[in-house]
Symmetry: none
Amino acid sequence: MTDAAETAPTRRRTSIGGRRNPESAAAILDAAAAILAENGLGGFSIEAVARRAGAGKPTIYRWWPNKAALLIDVYARQKETVLQADTGSLQGDLEDVLSRLFDFWRHTPAGAAFRSIIAEAQSDPEALERLRAFLIERRAYVREIVERGIARGDLPADADGAAIVEMLFGFAWMRLLTGDLGAAEDIPRRVHLILKGAA
Amino acid sequence: MTDAAETAPTRRRTSIGGRRNPESAAAILDAAAAILAENGLGGFSIEAVARRAGAGKPTIYRWWPNKAALLIDVYARQKETVLQADTGSLQGDLEDVLSRLFDFWRHTPAGAAFRSIIAEAQSDPEALERLRAFLIERRAYVREIVERGIARGDLPADADGAAIVEMLFGFAWMRLLTGDLGAAEDIPRRVHLILKGAA
Amino acid sequence: MTDAAETAPTRRRTSIGGRRNPESAAAILDAAAAILAENGLGGFSIEAVARRAGAGKPTIYRWWPNKAALLIDVYARQKETVLQADTGSLQGDLEDVLSRLFDFWRHTPAGAAFRSIIAEAQSDPEALERLRAFLIERRAYVREIVERGIARGDLPADADGAAIVEMLFGFAWMRLLTGDLGAAEDIPRRVHLILKGAA
Amino acid sequence: MTDAAETAPTRRRTSIGGRRNPESAAAILDAAAAILAENGLGGFSIEAVARRAGAGKPTIYRWWPNKAALLIDVYARQKETVLQADTGSLQGDLEDVLSRLFDFWRHTPAGAAFRSIIAEAQSDPEALERLRAFLIERRAYVREIVERGIARGDLPADADGAAIVEMLFGFAWMRLLTGDLGAAEDIPRRVHLILKGAA
DNA sequence: GCGTAAACGAGACGGTACGTCGCGTCTTAGG
DNA sequence: CCTAAGACGCGACGTACCGTCTCGTTTACGC
């Protein structure tokens, strides 16, 4: 069971001329996701990814400056899933967002990837900056949902949207980082707690 | 506090018989804390700690099975500060706890240590278990404050104490992990959000 | 099968007052010999000897300044076997000495011990000095046999006894050091070669 | 010869592509020889060699599986000196071979290297095997000289060449291992003893 | 006959070296 | 100019022994 052979079994991948080979990029991201899913951050190294992808280390370093960047790409590659949600009520929308997020983290390599990104950010300032930027973007998305709820009248006009979003993300992170994604059933209560507080 | 050992290592530390030498343990924890404070988790390695402490690596491994255990001890060593709080109201008590916690994380090596512990736990299952155990204990402490508030009548008897505590810790972790401990001024609003939601 | 229990099964060994405990010395030498016989020089360490002997390391260091000294004692402890030989002819006497020596090296821990002593002497000048001293003594013994042969008329009076002895020992060492003690059957031819040369 | 690398390490050595860098190999062997010459086997460690060679330990382990292999290469690297010898008589040829060998061992790091190889072989079975193989080859070379002497009529046709060679090597080893290479003046007598015995 | 001295086991101490792994950089040979 | 390959210097990993130290205990000897 040579891992490298999984995605590109028959032929050896090589240069396609003076530009990036998308097959290589894909193989690298696939390999990275697979390693994360199987062995977690512990077994994740550039060497291991290169080995499994059948790629040269310099090829990885050419396109991703460091481990964090690669992890972020692994994460970003699968995030389409989480997007939309409109259930008619803010409570429902937020429940939906969090449920999807928990599922996404639990059932794809994304969870392991995101845990790794956070971990990496604790020792690498640049990775922290990337994480913060990413977080701002993600929060903005949920913020919109909250604002929509305010517009809809689910919350008073002066409700603190930023606080709501921050508390919910804090809750989600805590669950992710402590390996507690399983207990998704108290998402509704938590959302309710926050929304009632903001009312 | 590590200065004494650094500038005036008057005599060589050695065994004091067939049992643990507390001086060595102290020197190691001091060195670990100092490295964490100065270089962050990136520069933190058992080798570096041993070097700075003037200790042998095996001495460290004898007493701390891995990096995570050492980090937890570094953290635990300074936590007395956070304890007390009784301001008369639950809002005040929780504000006080969080403010002290933020200060503690910001102004001692404990913040860097705790960030490192969380990061480490993302790749080391055993470290994760230690972290969860630690977290349970810490939450229980804040939980007591909440229960006291309930007894006092600040919250209805059926208020969900666990949820309150979890949301507050989630908030604190988020701030710690994203390097946002500075903005402690919105602690009161966050506490208020939660308490109002629980009322 | 706790090794320490072999020689002193029931009771724990301890001090017998302000002087050397012969039981300890014996246990240490036994353990050293056993380790050498079973694992060779590779597995031989002061720690291992102490462990197996149920002795403290300082007890070993108190009586043997270094590994070489201990090895020499292990060797010396068993050498009585090799001694006497008087077959009536010099050829016979020397054959007898060499055969006994080969057997001694092959069938007791002494062979491993002596190989270890020689090895040790290549990195430790003091051990080399001890080895040379030991060698002088052993050669003198064989030298006597040769002189007896000269007196008996087996060799001319001007025969170079030192050379004879040195060549025979060189032969024996070579066999020992290359693990070739098995082929003892050509001892007679080698002795004959030398004696004929000296005639 | 190692000076160039030590005092003028003008530029950093690095990879030259996916194949062995001969400069690194040379630097490592130089460093090993120098350490052996200066500090003997006692100061010889892979770490020390790497340090002195300005090489990484893995680079050494990549090409030499263990200490013994490296020592053998150090030895082999300098052995061209010993080869030739044709003085017209077997006595002269053998004297020449032994004298050259003694000089070689005394005046180059080869002596220390070979002592170390023998020592290493006493604890490492694989090293012993390498040593035996090497020995067979070296003996074959001297054996040829002896056969040439037999062909020339210096010895009877039924002379035991193997015995002659073994006794001479045994003598040389003994001198090497006991630090007695100085007294080279009795080489002729020893050779004569053997040849007369074989006549 | 009792205190002292020395040896005992145990095991911690500061170290050095082990052999392995991953880092990020470099150079090749070949599309 | 990109690709797979893989060597390079570096440095941390966790382990094994080194030789030294101090402990608390156990005798025997000498005052």
